[in-house]
């Protein structure tokens, strides 16, 4: 399983809609922009967002002798993507599966996809602490998983669930690389006044409470949302934005970690 993958990073959050998929895709694109070969695996089976966010909807997965060939975003083959979205006939089809079938699918994604040589595999997850997460953590025991990046918004109601996810990481023995606080303020384009729509500092307080690093604070930036549907990295398109700065520092942080020899 994942024999040729050097580093695995899981993106988690107890709460839905906080930006796990946006952080996952932009992190994958940022890692690629800094010269890495990257894979992105979407294990949100009931609500896959990665194909849409990267503008890859409608692409088909091909089978070769060794397994499924992931979707490459371009000729350079530096970003490989796998999601159940590519296996649905119609984008509106629901995947109405109970746990055991979801477990089977995720194991297939990890074992039967030809990931090739990758510097990083980013795994985007659904919200919660249930079948998908237990399965992925069980599989991570056999591969060099670097740890998890936790995404949250500053709102108390999101933090409640994210604290549960941190407990999950502790109990399953996965290292928390740090917390990313997303949607942490909106600068009005008309008057430049900043409103903390979903409160503020929640991620920082949680990082302190859990004694894990705060990897960065991302504002609500509609320009990032506009990039959805393409493989454009924030690093290139919005190089001066605070989102790009945060992503750059996360990439640096990861490169620093992975410079050390990793072991399972």
């Amino acid at each position: 399983m994942l024999d040729k993958v050097k580093n695995v990073i899981v993106v988690l959050s107890g709460k839905g809609g906080v930006g796990k998929s946006t952080v996952s895709t932009q992190l994958a694109l940022a890692l690629r922009a800094t010269g890495h070969k990257v894979g992105l695996l979407d294990i949100d089976l009931c609500g896959p967002s990665v194909p849409h966010l990267l503008g890859l909807e409608g692409r088909d997965i091909y089978q070769c002798d060794d397994g499924w060939v992931p979707i490459y975003t371009d000729e350079s083959k530096t970003l490989a993507v796998m999601s159940i979205g590519f296996l649905l006939k119609n984008r509106n089809d629901p995947v109405i599966w109970r746990g055991p079938k979801k477990t089977m699918m995720i194991k297939q994604f990890l074992t039967d996809v030809k990931w090739e040589d990758l510097d990083y595999l980013i795994i985007d997850t659904p919200p919660g602490t249930s079948d998908e997460h237990i399965t992925v953590m069980e599989c991570m025991r056999e591969v060099p998983c670097n740890g998890a990046i936790i995404v949250t918004t500053p709102q108390g109601v999101a933090l409640d669930d994210v604290r549960k996810e941190l407990t999950f990481c502790k109990k399953t023995g996965i290292k928390v690389l740090g917390i990313v606080e997303n949607m942490s303020g909106f600068v009005c384009p008309h008057c430049s006044d900043c409103t903390n729509i979903f409160s503020s500092f929640g991620g920082a307080e949680l990082a302190q409470l859990a004694q894990v690093p705060l990897l960065g604070t991302l504002p609500i930036d509609p320009r990032v949302g506009v990039l959805a549907g393409s493989t454009a990295s924030v690093l290139n398109e919005l190089a001066d934005s605070s989102t790009a700065q945060v992503l750059r520092s996360i990439v640096q942080h990861l490169d620093g970690l992975t410079a050390l020899p990793t072991s399972a």
Binding site: G16, P94, K102, P127, S130, G156, K164, C188
Partner: protein, 310 residues
């Protein structure tokens, strides 16, 4: 005791139940593979008995997380309870891994009491009560690391062993997706002799990345024969408190909920703005439905449409 299902279990309701290779060795294979035996979950009768005085059940669904299912549930409950003081309302939070209702309804730290007739839900107001797994956890940090079958067992208990009493409307707040929790709650509550007793409201934001998952949820409802009352669009625009201008934070590049409703042939109940007063109230648990603003105006329309449909 229930034996855990084998890893590749096709599901007891599946046509292949008991017939595929994974079923070999499963203690329930004989029951599953018997073609004459219509497998009826014994829990269903218990749920029906416990729910006999609950007139209407309303599922609050969305394929997408974080769009405001719980917030909409809270706002609807509070607004309806205020508008119909002589009716009784219940809220059941079936988001097992991420329960939000205790905080939203201002009941963090309350306890559920066991009585002769089952668990007593927590009283929120004179005519509102709530049950959530959040009340059963020792601390907010406690994680529920359960696979499907345990979550299903918990949901069955919430439906059959909670003393709901007489309710005019039970609102069920759900987790995102179309998986165990959703299948379980539907299989327990759907009554084909009274198809109108269980209906659904769909919550979305205007963004395509949310609508994409929400269309899946609407098709889930159609497949499961649950009538959809309509769609509530949440976080539809943000009005700056400083200059008063509106911005679309989650832009409706594909026409938002209105276009999707037309495409999927479901009614649009209304749009709620992205209101910092609401997000603050979510965290503090206070009731904002008495205030007069654009949120409560929109709520009034949505609630009257819901009540007319029940």
């Amino acid at each position: 005791m229930q034996a855990p299902p084998p890893e590749h279990c096709p599901g007891v309701e599946s046509e292949q139940a008991g017939l595929v290779s994974a079923c070999a060795g499963c203690p329930n294979q004989r029951i599953c593979s018997d073609p004459n035996k219509k497998l009826e979950d014994p829990g269903k009768a218990l749920v029906a008995a416990a729910m006999k005085d609950v007139k209407h059940k309303l599922l609050i669904l969305s394929g997408k997380g974080g769009v405001g299912k719980s917030t909409v549930t809270t706002l609807l409950t509070r607004y309806l309870a205020r508008s119909y003081p002589d009716s009784n309302f219940g809220v059941l939070d079936i988001d097992i891994c991420g329960p939000s209702q205790p905080r939203l309804l201002g009941a963090v730290g309350e306890n559920v009491h066991q009585s002769g007739s089952g668990w007593s839900p927590v009283g929120i107001d004179d005519n509102v009560c709530l049950m959530s797994i959040g009340f059963l956890l020792g601390s907010v940090d406690d994680a529920i690391i359960w696979r499907g079958p345990k979550k299903n067992g918990m949901i069955r208990q919430f439906l059959s062993e909670v003393d709901w009493g007489t309710l005019d409307l039970l609102l069920l707040d759900t987790p995102p997706g179309t998986s165990d929790e959703h299948l379980s709650v539907v299989s327990y509550l759907r009554d084909d002799s009274a198809p109108d007793s269980l209906k659904a409201i769909i919550v979305t934001t205007p963004q395509e990345v949310a609508l994409l998952d929400v269309r899946k949820e609407i098709n889930f409802c159609k497949k499961q024969r649950i009538p959809i009352v309509g769609v509530v669009e949440n976080m539809s625009s943000f009005r700056c408190g400083n200059c008063g201008n509106s911005s679309e934070i989650f832009p409706a590049k594909t026409g938002g909920a209105a276009a999707m409703c037309q495409e999927m042939d479901v009614p649009l109940l209304g749009s709620l703005p992205l209101d910092p007063q609401v997000t603050r109230a979510c965290d503090s648990g206070e009731d904002i439905t008495a205030i007069n603003n654009s949120t409560t105006e929109a709520l009034a329309t949505i609630c009257s449409k819901i009540m007319a449909s029940l």
